[in-house]
């Protein structure tokens, strides 16, 4: 009964979303305040209905209601509670429901916090958001209904894919979707602005918090996914250039570009039509990602293998929304006049450069991802495009970005002198070259990647620190630091975090030490200065798996460092093995142990990795996300959100806020 109510709520949400689309958009066109006012309650009601529906599905998973097809296919009574809940989105149907829930959530927040946005723009934003809801609710109801019952419910379920039964991956999809779907808000703002025929500084300010929020969530989601791959897949890789990963990287890059160009719109009223285009493209790539993952046209490690009907439906959604928005864009782009004047060397130009590098790098990833499809369709060539291509084609863009970033960040608006700005950054530059020389001379394997990556990381971090110090005035005045806006601190963290992540990636890639051998119980061996002993291997029973767990001791210079328990698990229901590496996390290195199979001579296959700077990758990611979050709480957005209307200093906008 409850399940039917959940299903019914979803149908009702579809009807409400239709109303939310048609009435406010019509109202905004005819300047009818009554019709426009329908938008907000409709957005709230849609959110409540989808939440109810999602709650019902969660309840079905938690209570193991195997009369539901998705529950039967993705759950099991013995599964721990956390994974019963995360199983809700560990499958295609449930994850689409989560997608729509987040879509409705963003619509509702726009209705709740959009009080300061002019009525017609607000009505249009909510209407466009509603139309995306209509499309995806229809997709769920017609092709991917999670509330399909089974005529004869089985006694137990088929269990969730064991690889997904992991805390890192349990929370990876919700964050990722918050990011993907968050970009729907920027899309709605862009299309609404095109309908209005007006883009100004205020629009730039309204759209930036949504972009920031989407980017922060995408950053966390991608970070979680990569961290999971690192410890779960058994050999410590963190990025595979898998189509599904690329699907999340492309919108992330576009969102990063959009974040920066929205600043230019807000501060300088230029780059308007480009920013609108970016907002459309960012969500477009979110949709392309959804299509790639769910249509099954490109098979990858963790795509939900699926039938073509769903692919066609999503392609249709993509065509309607992208086609419509881009057509509207070509019609209206001329209306948006750029105002600010700036020279070739200026912060505006630096941000244009940022946008070019981010957008083109994203397109490179896109072309690489779809190339196998194109080659097969046009030239009947069956080929693969894998990590070696992406490493070669993508990395140069980020190297260029890293070199230019600290300089661009301190250039003044309008007109700048390149020499003067580089001179200011001399300390960072010297430090970066010092790191380059030092690392080059102490490393044992002579690779270029490690020293260059670390030098670029140093340049970014030191540049970000200098950037914030320079904000305090010509003669660095530390007492002013505490009075700087949070956006400045956010920028320090985001740019510095990028540096830390880049250093981590190059360190890990350049200097990983690997050792594969057969070890007898009680035996010990040396790897890169560490002594590792295999003490015992035992079989144990987990809640829904059987595990072969090793006990291994790690020593350095006869000093005990860690006891690690690498495991090999076997899930009898899903008939799948997983590896759980034993990892000793350190600031400068991870010790990463994997236990393999028993060998004919009674020993065990053991793999040992020493992974330098591994944690810097995710540490930097967390710092980047934190920076975005800090920027999100900057006073000018809280003020803009209407929180402190009465006290808004009136002259601030008129005079122009001091350069970002």
């Amino acid at each position: 009964m409850l399940v039917e109510l959940g299903h019914f709520a979803l149908v009702l949400a579809f009807a409400v979303a239709l109303a939310q689309t048609v009435l406010p958009l019509w109202g905004a066109q005819t300047r009818n305040p009554a019709l426009m006012a329908v938008g907000e309650p409709a957005a709230m009601i849609q959110f409540v209905l989808v939440t109810f529906s999602f709650g019902v599905l969660t309840y079905a998973f938690v209570t193991s209601d195997f009369s539901l097809k998705v529950v039967m296919e993705n759950s099991h009574t013995l599964k721990p509670m956390l994974y019963k809940v995360s199983g809700v989105w560990g499958n295609h149907e449930g994850s689409m429901l989560l997608w729509v829930l987040i879509l409705a959530l963003f619509g509702a927040t726009a209705a709740l916090f959009g009080g300061n946005i002019p009525a017609t723009l607000r009505a249009r934003v909510i209407g466009i958001q509603g139309s995306i809801g209509v499309a995806f609710l229809a997709f769920i109801l017609f092709t991917s209904n999670p509330f399909v019952r089974l005529a004869i419910p089985p006694m137990n379920g088929q269990d969730l894919n064991p690889l997904l039964q992991d805390p890192g991956l349990a929370f990876h999809p919700p964050f990722l979707y918050l990011g993907y779907v968050g970009l729907s808000m920027t899309f709605s703002f862009a299309v609404a602005a095109l309908l209005e025929g007006r883009v100004d500084a205020a629009w730039g300010r309204w759209v930036r918090p949504w972009t920031l929020a989407a980017w922060v969530f995408l950053t966390i989601g991608i970070g979680l996914g990569s961290w999971w791959a690192y410890y779960e897949l058994g050999w410590g890789g963190f990025w595979f250039w898998d189509p599904v990963e690329n699907a999340s990287l492309m919108p992330w890059l576009f969102a990063a570009a959009l974040l920066h160009s929205a600043i230019v719109v807000e501060k300088r009223e230029t780059l308007k039509s480009w920013t609108i285009l970016l907002a459309i493209m960012a969500f477009g790539f979110s949709l392309i990602g959804t299509f790639l993952v769910r249509s099954g046209v490109i098979t990858s490690v963790h795509a939900f293998a699926n039938d073509p009907e769903r692919g066609v439906f999503i392609l249709l959604i993509l065509a309607v929304f992208m086609g419509g928005a881009l057509a509207l864009f070509t019609l209206r782009a001329g209306v948006m006049q750029a105002k600010g004047v700036f020279a070739l060397v200026s912060r505006e130009s630096a941000l244009v450069m940022n946008n070019i590098l981010l957008a083109v790098s994203s397109l490179v990833v896109f072309i690489g991802t779809i190339w196998p499809l194109v080659a097969e369709a046009l030239w009947a060539r069956k080929l693969s495009v894998g990590a070696p291509f992406f490493d070669a084609a993508f990395t140069p863009f980020f190297v260029a970005l890293a070199i230019l970033l600290p300089i661009g960040a301190i250039l003044p608006w309008k007109r700048a002198k390149l020499g003067a700005s580089v001179k200011k950054l001399l300390p960072s530059l010297i430090l970066a070259f010092a790191v380059l020389g030092l690392i080059w001379s102490i490393q044992t394997q002579k690779t270029l990647l490690g020293p260059i990556g670390l030098a670029l990381g140093t340049w970014l971090v030191a540049g970000a620190v200098q950037d914030i110090l320079l904000r305090t005035g010509k003669s660095v005045n530390l007492s002013r630091l505490s009075r700087l806006p949070r956006a400045d601190w956010g920028r320090l963290l985001a740019h510095g975090g990028l540096g830390i992540t880049m250093a981590g990636i190059s360190g890990l890639t350049a200097w990983t030490v690997e050792d594969i051998r057969v070890v007898q119980i009680g035996e010990s061996f040396d790897v890169a200065g560490y002594t590792i002993a295999l003490e015992a291997v035992e079989r144990q029973q987990g809640p829904n798996y059987i595990t072969t767990m090793a006990t291994m001791e790690v020593f350095k210079d006869a000093k005990h460092i860690a006891t690690l328990h690498p495991e090999k698990r076997s899930y009898p229901v899903a008939q799948m093995p997983t590896t759980e590496a034993g990892i000793d996390n350190g600031f400068l290195r991870d010790i990463y142990l994997v236990i393999g199979d028993i060998q004919s001579n009674g020993g065990w296959a053991v793999r040992t990795y020493i992974k330098p700077l591994a944690n810097w990758i995710w540490g930097g990611t967390i710092i980047m996300a934190l920076g975005g979050f800090l920027s999100l709480t900057d006073r000018r957005y809280r003020v803009a959100a209407g929180a402190r209307k009465a006290q808004t200093p009136r002259k601030v906008t008129a005079k122009g806020v001091p350069a970002e």
């Binding site: 098979t299 070739l344 490179v364 080929l383 693969s384 495009v385 291509f389 594969i516 590896t579 060998q599």
Partner: protein
Amino acid sequence: MKHLLLVIALLTAAPVLAVQPDEVLPDPVMESRARDISQGLRCLVCRNENIDESNAELARDLRLLVRERLVAGDSDEEVVDYVVDRYGEYVLLKPTLTGANKLLWVAGPAMLILALGIGIGFIRRRGKEPEVAELTDEEKRRLESLLQE
């Protein structure tokens, strides 16, 4: 040769983990060549994994094949060609620079040059444009009223 592969496949019926200790060649230089080659070859039954990382039996067979060819004295290119001859272009994770694939490799630099051209053109125009006129009285009133809200 075929029989050897079959025997190996049967012996390793249990799920195995990427490169196994018994696969490693005694000569470290040759082993590291084998690893480099393996990382560029796709596991045919997996989804987007190279044979060096894959747990599939077919990947193990290919790893052994690569090592066998190396021991037989093949150069790196000869080994890769040998595998491509048997399994097709699909095994190569790094697409070759032949035929239409040139487009794929050229796409990045070409798009960058195009974007830079457009970007610099735009910036130049922005530099030449005269400063925007002051707000008209009507606009000023509108600004005031907006700020009052």
